[in-house]
Point group: C2
Chain length 255, copies 2
Amino acid sequence: MTTSADRIWKAGLVVIGDEILSGRTHDRNIAQIASWLQVQGIRLAEVRVVSDDMDAIADAVNALRTKFDYLFTTGGIGPTHDDITVDAVAKALGVEVVIHPEARAILADYYKDKDGGLNDARLRMARVPAGADLIPNHMSGAPGIRHGNVYLMAGVPSITAQMLDSLTGTLEGGAPLLSETVGGWIKESEVADLLREVEKAHEKCQIGSYPFFREGKVGANFVIRSTSRDSLDSCVDTLCEGLGELGFDWTPGGI
Amino acid sequence: MTTSADRIWKAGLVVIGDEILSGRTHDRNIAQIASWLQVQGIRLAEVRVVSDDMDAIADAVNALRTKFDYLFTTGGIGPTHDDITVDAVAKALGVEVVIHPEARAILADYYKDKDGGLNDARLRMARVPAGADLIPNHMSGAPGIRHGNVYLMAGVPSITAQMLDSLTGTLEGGAPLLSETVGGWIKESEVADLLREVEKAHEKCQIGSYPFFREGKVGANFVIRSTSRDSLDSCVDTLCEGLGELGFDWTPGGI
């Protein structure tokens, strides 16, 4: 029987931005949102990076908001002509775009002493899909937006960090996924059998093997994940014992 | 009329890896592959990051290989139990998994003087979807795999870089997308009208606005993209003139 404690809560993420797809900007929001979700007891299950295109955004939003418990988007909620996320999400949800009165008040206050005041471009940042709530942003005034299970965040990682802070503890999640890492100057191809056997003997755990090349040498980190602390500890112990029997040195926490 | 020179070649990318979705590892392959594709005259049109799960990988591969001219994957082609990309892609393509004789020979040679030789785990890296060719990897022996328009690359960015080198110039593409960047300590909300008007006046160009916060100050880079050098230059000139008229300093190449 699946109890609510066993339920795995999942989220999707749509990263909006030609700047990521052109290779010009390295995305930093995937890792940031993934780490934050882990702490909320929610797993990031899929990410789609799409271009600044209405249909591409709307299709990705509809695919992932129906597939998972939560959907986040990053990017495209600023004041310029290429910021079309609100329109695309409204289209996906089948609702109108409206000016949110509280967002307008926040922006009017934020810009009251600044050059140009609340001009038309800045007022664009008060537009939301009808029925939406705001996500506070203490950094730059312009709020994030929540509509049902859809959360629209900024593209600038430091602003998204602020919005995530505002949301901390407000989303329902399950047991957090715990993880431990063990690593060494070990060729993963020499311990592949061990990894498979240890994972098989601990059904509540997954073991990931992440090889790397550093200082001209081959190594690997092994990440063990589970929602059960007991299973996790037992799995880590068995793995480390096995590595030792094969003659390998390993370092807790990975290298 | 669309001539072949006007045709826009597009690629999709499936990033395979629980380590990206957990937030533990920051992806570096999206930007690397995007930049490489640009030079080949191919645009990265969509990325999906999926977990180490057969169905999730197969579904994403099938969605993107039919939607775009090319599909790349990264990750999951190593020797351990969690490397299931070959099996998932074979499932997506409806073909068997076979040992590629040339891959076996490459691995046998690479491991002949190494501890353990060509063991079962290492031989896994000679498995390919039936009908596939190899993509040379001069770094670690284990080759990448091509099957029709599907290209399977490593998860380790330095190995993927080697595989991309091997592929340079072998994929058909169109006119490369050219870009110029202009940036300054400019609030994008003060130049939103200008950006929209300049883009509208140059139909072969797109202008992206990328704000940032640095040293406690707000700034933005404006990236102008086009496949036409003349249109691009004209658009950049018009934009810079407009920024000057509004009293803003700007720096070619962005800040």
